[in-house]
């Protein structure tokens, strides 16, 4: 284990930390910030990770969770996570290295309110041919909150037939809320498919009025629309009971936040 003095403190001058909470980073313990967990998926096997992070209304401070994942040939890693923490700063970072024919599936949801700042940061390394990855992130921002998605995809030389997709959409419920998207592609192979998309907007007003015209009150309409919006990120969960439960808990958070 390296000495604390040899570890560098990340700052918002670095690209991968540009939207982070600089003030919190400046005082957090360096070894905490530079700690990486690891997940090893053996060839041909599948590992799942489902998480729902939330905290009470009095939460403060920050949290950073960084994980390195290695997926062996033909293996799968599926990670679904909902960030609904009211803390000042929350960061979930994944660095996923894919061997031949491996797959990475990621669904992330950010529910932000008050002045929280939450982010998903992913770096997906397609280091061998035929690997695939699919990432869908949805952010619902209320109050003065900020939601970020920084997604980097690297395709190594000779990683032919790579198919990598990432899609980020955010809706801002209040003036003062914000979202940042930073897709990054680094491709050194020529026979690959890499798709990325990002959109930041408001709740669909035409749909909200259509619902009102059928008798659905504004709060219920908003809830239905938000539910439909975040469900995209959980659509790839095979076990629908898990998906439904995650969705339900997310909606409870929305209710609790008075959204």
């Amino acid at each position: 284990m390296p000495e604390a003095g040899t570890l560098e403190r990340p700052t918002t001058r670095e690209e991968a930390w540009r939207y982070a909470d600089g003030a919190w980073l400046a005082q957090a313990p360096v070894d905490y910030l530079q700690h990486w967990g690891t997940v090893e998926v053996p060839p041909g096997e599948t590992k799942h990770f489902n998480a729902f992070t939330h905290s009470g209304p009095q939460a403060s401070g920050g949290s950073v969770r960084r994980t390195r994942v290695h997926v062996g040939a033909g293996g799968r890693y599926e990670h679904f996570e909902i960030l609904a923490s009211g803390a000042d700063y929350s960061r979930v970072e994944l660095e996923v290295t894919l061997d031949q024919g491996a797959h990475f599936e990621f669904g992330g949801v950010i529910i932000g309110n008050r002045a929280s700042r939450q982010e998903f940061v992913t770096r997906v390394i397609h280091r061998a041919p035929d690997a695939t990855s699919n990432q869908v992130v949805r952010a619902v921002q209320a109050g003065q909150s900020t939601g970020n998605y920084l997604g980097r995809i690297e395709v190594a030389r000779d990683s032919q037939k790579t198919d990598a997709g990432q899609n980020f959409r955010a809706i801002l419920l209040n003036k003062g809320a914000s979202a940042n998207a930073k897709p990054e592609l680094e491709i050194f192979a020529d026979d690959v498919k890499c798709a990325h998309g990002a959109a930041i907007g408001q709740l669909d007003q035409a749909a909200a009025y259509y619902m009102a015209a059928r008798g659905i009150p504004p709060e219920a309409a908003r809830k239905l629309l938000v539910q439909a919006f975040i469900a995209d990120a959980l659509a790839a969960i095979d076990d629908r009971r898990i998906a439904d439960r995650m969705l339900e808990r997310t909606l409870e958070q929305l209710d609790g936040a008075g959204l």
Binding site: Y209, M211, R214, P218, L224, L225
Partner: protein, 253 residues
């Protein structure tokens, strides 16, 4: 049942309705026809309370209630149904979920018990069959991937399920082929032809009126009703055109 009196409305500062007066008694179907830009769709949105459509004068009374005082969802619960010229797509929300939520929200506002899942599905199946819409389509997201005709039939299924007292149907006939027009016309009659109900049909063409026979026909031009008559007025408009039928009116004015 519906009394519109000297109604003025603007859309983004621009006056569109300029003193529109119209009464539809219970048990009647009235048709509104008129050239493009006359204010037909604006009238339907003003009645439905769509944001951006501002009433600057006049009144609308619905079953003795001041309609303009109510929020859009309260108007629906009071029994008003607005058929959209362009039904809206809502990805991620199924028709079944949407309509059950809508029906139970309306029932709640009226102080009625919510309908159970089973009873709701039975009702939905019955109305889908009436409009010859595959029940499978109701399990799909609202209007997503529906053809123009399917959207209009889905609107009428919604109307059947919600069972409103009064329907304002804005060009429900557009985008329908002849067979679908017949199905939709029959559906409107089955759902809305009743002593305590009323319909305001907004249309460009006579053809829907072959299936849904209007009691009265009104011509809307430049934000006002300029002429009213029986069903024969629609036939005259169809054969002679708006200019010819409206010309004597303009000459008198």
């Amino acid at each position: 049942m519906l009394q519109i009196s000297d109604l003025h409305a603007t859309v983004g500062e621009k006056p569109i309705l300029k003193g529109l007066t119209l009464t539809v008694p219970a048990g009647e179907v009235h048709a509104i026809m008129g050239p493009n830009g006359a204010g037909k769709s604006t009238l339907s949105y003003v009645l439905g309370g769509r944001p951006g459509y501002e009433v600057t004068g006049g009144s609308v009374t619905f079953n003795g209630q001041d309609l303009l005082e109510l929020e859009p969802h309260e108007r629906a619960a009071a029994g008003l149904f607005l058929g959209f010229q362009y039904p809206v797509e809502i990805p991620g929300v199924s028709n079944v979920q949407f309509l059950r939520e809508a029906l139970n929200a309306q029932r709640k506002m009226r102080g009625e018990e919510p309908l159970s899942g089973g009873d709701f599905l039975k009702l939905a199946k019955e109305k889908a069959a009436l409009l010859r819409l595959d029940m499978e389509m109701l399990k799909r997201p609202v209007n997503v991937g529906f053809s123009g005709g399917e959207k209009k039939r889905a609107e009428m299924v919604q109307m059947g399920i919600l069972d409103p007292a009064f329907a304002v149907l804005d060009e429900t006939d557009s985008g329908l082929d002849i067979d679908a027009l017949k199905v939709v016309g029959k559906g409107i009659n089955a759902i809305m032809r009743a002593p305590g109900k009323g319909v305001l049909l907004i249309t460009h063409y006579q053809r829907l009126l072959d299936y849904v026979k209007p009691d009265r026909v009104h011509v809307l031009a430049d934000g006002r009703i300029v002429q009213s008559g029986g069903p024969e007025l629609a036939l005259r408009l169809e054969s002679e055109g708006y200019d010819a039928v409206m010309a004597p009116e303009a000459a008198n004015a």
